[in-house]
């Protein structure tokens, strides 16, 4: 067990991070190939599925480009800057990395909940949810600001005293774990596993547009956060994947930017500063009182 407490260098951790990312990507491609063979057998492997998968990888390209050009350097330098105000002095070993991953998973829960319940954050996260399919390629479907929001939620870990590189590693690790949740191939895992960990079953629920599945199962690695904070739902009814207002397109540009192009008219048409702010900060299904009343009125009349 001494390896757990042995000193670890930033370089070593960075090497682990890049190796892990590459191997997870290669493994997912292999599993995706098997998934496609399975869909072929079920006669579900048409252009909608293939086109969607291709759009997913194009969105990954956009996302990585933005990450390298815009967010990456800013992110790490800001972390290193804020680290000097750290509360505790935390050394670098696998034991502290483990604790950091646990806390990064908690931070991810709140980040993810915010991505769903704050209009402007949903404008980027809706991309990931807009696929009507559920296979490993969906794990790589990203929106334009998916690299931006995590910064604020993981900053507290840097301020508590975790090494910026450790926090970065932990964020990536939580993300990589979830890659393999995007599959219909695995049913339910043994009960103790389903009780503690996020699983393909829990994550299918998260991607569901069925009313009882909406805004549920935000967890990254652990599902206990959802059980603890009241956002858990069990997979019972067959999941209908996607968003409530379907995209019906596999055009990568439409896929990548649809959150923003939908947010813009909502902001433009809102009356007054207060309503514009509400469009940005309130949950995506929010509507001004007047609109809600008129919608209710029209429903009343059409009845």
């Amino acid at each position: 067990m001494t390896w757990l407490f042995a000193g670890l260098s930033e370089d070593a951790l960075y090497t682990w991070e890049s190796e892990l990312s590459v191997w997870v990507f290669l493994l997912s491609l292999a599993i995706l190939a098997l998934e496609l063979l399975r869909y072929l057998g079920m006669k579900r492997c048409g252009w909608p599925l293939i086109g969607d998968a291709l759009a997913n990888f194009v969105s990954l390209g956009f996302y990585l480009t933005l990450g390298y050009l815009l967010y990456g350097a800013l992110y790490l330098s800001a972390y290193v800057f804020f680290h000097q105000f750290a509360l505790f002095d935390i050394s670098l070993s696998w034991a502290t990395v483990f604790i950091c991953v646990l806390l990064a998973d908690l931070a991810y829960y709140w980040e993810h909940r915010c991505l769903h319940r704050v209009g402007v954050a949903w404008a980027t996260h809706t991309v990931h949810h807009s696929s009507p399919h559920f296979n490993l390629s969906v794990a790589y479907r990203f929106g334009p600001m998916d690299d931006f929001w995590p910064f604020f939620f993981h900053l507290p870990l840097v301020l508590v005293g975790f090494n910026p590189f450790v926090v970065f590693f932990a964020e990536v690790f939580v993300q990589l774990y979830q890659t393999f949740l995007h599959t219909e191939v695995i049913g339910k895992l043994p009960r103790p596993v389903e009780a503690v960990f996020n699983t393909p079953s829990h994550h299918r629920v998260h991607h569901g547009s069925n009313p009882q599945y909406r805004d549920k199962n935000y967890g990254g690695i652990l599902i206990i956060w959802d059980r603890l904070f009241g956002t858990y739902a069990e997979e019972r009814e067959t999941v209908v994947y996607g968003i409530t207002e379907p995209l019906n397109s596999v055009n990568p540009l439409k896929v990548f930017f649809h959150g923003l192009t939908r947010l813009w008219p909502a902001m433009r048409d809102s009356s007054g500063m207060k309503n514009t702010l509400a469009v940005l900060l309130r949950p995506p299904d929010w509507q001004p009182v007047v609109v809600r009343a008129s919608v209710a009125h029209q429903e009343e009349r059409s009845r």
């Binding site: 042995a6 509360l87 935390i90 050394s91 806390l103």
Partner: protein
């Protein structure tokens, strides 16, 4: 548990407590020995000290009663790492080798490097070291900037030159970063 299940502020409060609590726990976890990655990405123990200074793993733990210095981030370059230890301000300010209480030269190896000073059992000490690549026993400078790797106890970053009080460390394991500008 029910109290915060449907309350956002309750949930955030619990989360904040977890972050602070586990962060504090993490800060109490001691580091046992130095480890580094070799070229193949495999973890290899590099906790090598000098034979003359009697370094051993047991002595290197943070509970040892003498001064132990662990240099982090030694790059894969030739030469040696030279250590100087001072126990008083004026000698430290003058970098007077004659009045240093500790002197050690170790073969440089990529990763980390441990130096043990069994006879330095009373603090506080200021520790300086540099990576003597060309073997001239001196830190080569250009326009006021070191051309070889260097490090000082208590330094916040590569450009911080701590005074004796800031640099002062006690006995036990002290991990100090080596900086390379070139």
């Amino acid at each position: 548990m029910k109290a915060f299940k449907n309350s956002l502020s309750g949930g955030l409060g619990v989360s904040l407590c977890l972050v602070l609590g586990l962060g504090f726990l993490a800060s109490r976890i001691p580091v046992l020995e130095a480890q580094s990655l070799d070229e193949d990405g495999e973890a290899a123990s590099l906790s090598q000290g000098s034979q003359s200074a009697n370094t051993s793993l047991a002595q290197a733990s943070s509970t040892s009663t003498h001064l132990v210095v662990e240099v982090m981030g030694v790059e894969d370059r030739p030469g040696t790492v030279i250590f100087l230890v001072f126990d008083e301000q004026s000698a430290y300010d003058d970098m007077d080798v004659e009045r240093a209480v500790g002197f050690l030269e170790l073969e440089a190896s990529a990763g980390s490097l441990q130096a043990s000073f069994p006879y330095l059992v009373d603090g506080p000490y200021a520790v300086v070291f540099f990576h003597d690549e060309d073997g001239d026993q001196d830190l080569n400078m250009l326009a006021g900037f070191p051309l070889e790797g260097y490090g000082t106890s208590g330094a916040r970053d590569a450009y911080h030159e701590p005074g004796f009080d800031e640099a002062a460390v006690g006995v036990g394991l002290n991990r100090i970063q080596m900086h390379y500008l070139r």
